[in-house]
Symmetry: C2
DNA sequence: AAGTGGTCTAGACCACCGA
DNA sequence: CGGTGGTCTAGACCACTTC
């Protein structure tokens, strides 16, 4: 009663098999969207196991970041929530500790031929084009630019971006990906390095060419592990600081 | 029957109270060493709760890295596992994202009067001295310096370092802390920022004064939460990179 | 064989949410 | 109010380690 298309069952514990099964449901999109997944009770009946066993599988997926549970409501496939995580770390040296809510302005958005780096990072197929998007982020009340960003996505999957009203997604890109292109960012890897501002970057950050800048390279992936967005963000190095807890 | 010296009980769930209680036992050293902690059954009897509740508390502490369980043997306070996973805390990467495993050479090690910053970070008591340790890290096969490090620890707790043979712990400091000083690093927080090389730094990195450098500040803490080591690492900004996964 | 954790069951009652 | 997840109970049987 727990056997799936292929019996992945090599005498794994039931809750493990459930976990695999549920992971498939999430990755294939059968579960997801705004709906809650079936309740614990429902699942336990459906698969003929005890509620505690279903619970254990679900708890494990929650701790892995695939699901979230809300008491009284239900269990949901998790939305990405790190949208502007980076800005937690770009501390403006204002009266201390004030969180900056950055505004954003999109400078350009156009189809282009991918570089080799983009092909590698986004795993593009031959002849697949990309969409290039450039953006500047500002401290909200000031005119001061904080970050210049170059963003690349597959032109195939993100076609709708080209015809959309950019003003509707300037600040928040990932919700727009979801809304317009049905692509949901699940996690990302960021790499920090330092370099010197090239002309375009310098212009947008109102500094000189060759000024030291921090570069955050981000590769964002969907819940099924496919890379969906590659991004390079440039900020003035002198203002940059980034904290991580290691365990 | 679950009440402790001070009733920390504000109607917290039982397993939470157990978790706090067990955490105390670990941090105070009542549990630890080579012995297993009491069995689930024993604990459930002792505190008058169901075994499943004890289990939930323990599982949570296992996932937080405080305990490990071994089927058939028992549950143990987690030992530092530096043996092979040598660079647990070393996240620096080369431009391709490969983790770099550098060799190290200790330049100096001596007792000193702490700066105010050190007093604050390490929570030193009045008149407590520190040990200053400086070190250079090299790419393994090259003569090229990658990082210059200034490391501060309490002179009281780390006295044995001064009389030890430095060649025995050049590469691996944390196992040496454990072996020589019975101090186990459990976690650490790193902050990355950007600056310009001062004289000492420039000399060791074979570059000029005011060359752009990446600065990684690390505060390492023991299992009881006490700060034990404060470290500043400097690397040439042009060669530096650092990766983090976001979720 | 005895003791440990690992898995699983089959409930109970509570707190929270939405209609 | 009914349905959801959150907590808790009180067992069962299994797999593993140690003696």
């Amino acid at each position: 009663m727990l056997t799936q298309k292929q019996d992945m069952d090599t005498r794994l514990p039931i809750y493990q098999r459930l976990k695999d099964l549920f992971t498939q449901k999430v990755q294939s999109g059968q579960w997801g969207g705004a709906e809650a997944i079936p309740s614990e009770h429902e699942l336990s009946v459906q698969y003929g196991v005890a509620p505690g066993t279903v619970r254990k599988a679900i708890e494990s997926l929650v701790s892995q970041g695939y699901l979230t549970r809300q008491q009284g409501k239900g269990t949901y496939v998790r939305q990405a929530s790190f949208g502007n995580a980076m800005f937690r770390f770009f501390r403006h040296t204002d009266p201390d500790g004030q969180v900056i809510q950055p505004a954003a302005r999109i400078l350009s958005i156009k189809k282009a031929i991918p570089s080799q780096a983009e092909i590698n990072k986004l795993l593009l197929v031959p002849n697949e084009k990309v969409i290039h998007l450039t953006r500047v982020r500002y401290a909200q009340n000031k005119n001061e630019p904080l970050l210049y960003e170059e963003i690349s996505v597959s032109a195939q999957r993100f076609e709708p971006l080209l015809s959309a009203d950019t003003s509707s997604f300037e600040d928040l890109l990932y919700p727009a990906y979801d809304r317009l292109c049905q692509v949901r960012v699940h996690r990302a890897t960021e790499t920090i390095s330092f370099g010197l501002a090239e002309l375009e970057v310098a212009k947008c950050l109102l500094t000189e060419v060759n000024a030291p800048v921090a570069i955050i390279t981000r590769l964002a992936t969907a819940i099924d592990g496919q890379p969906v967005e590659w991004r390079k963000s440039y900020g003035l190095a002198s203002r940059f600081s980034y904290s991580i807890e290691l365990r």
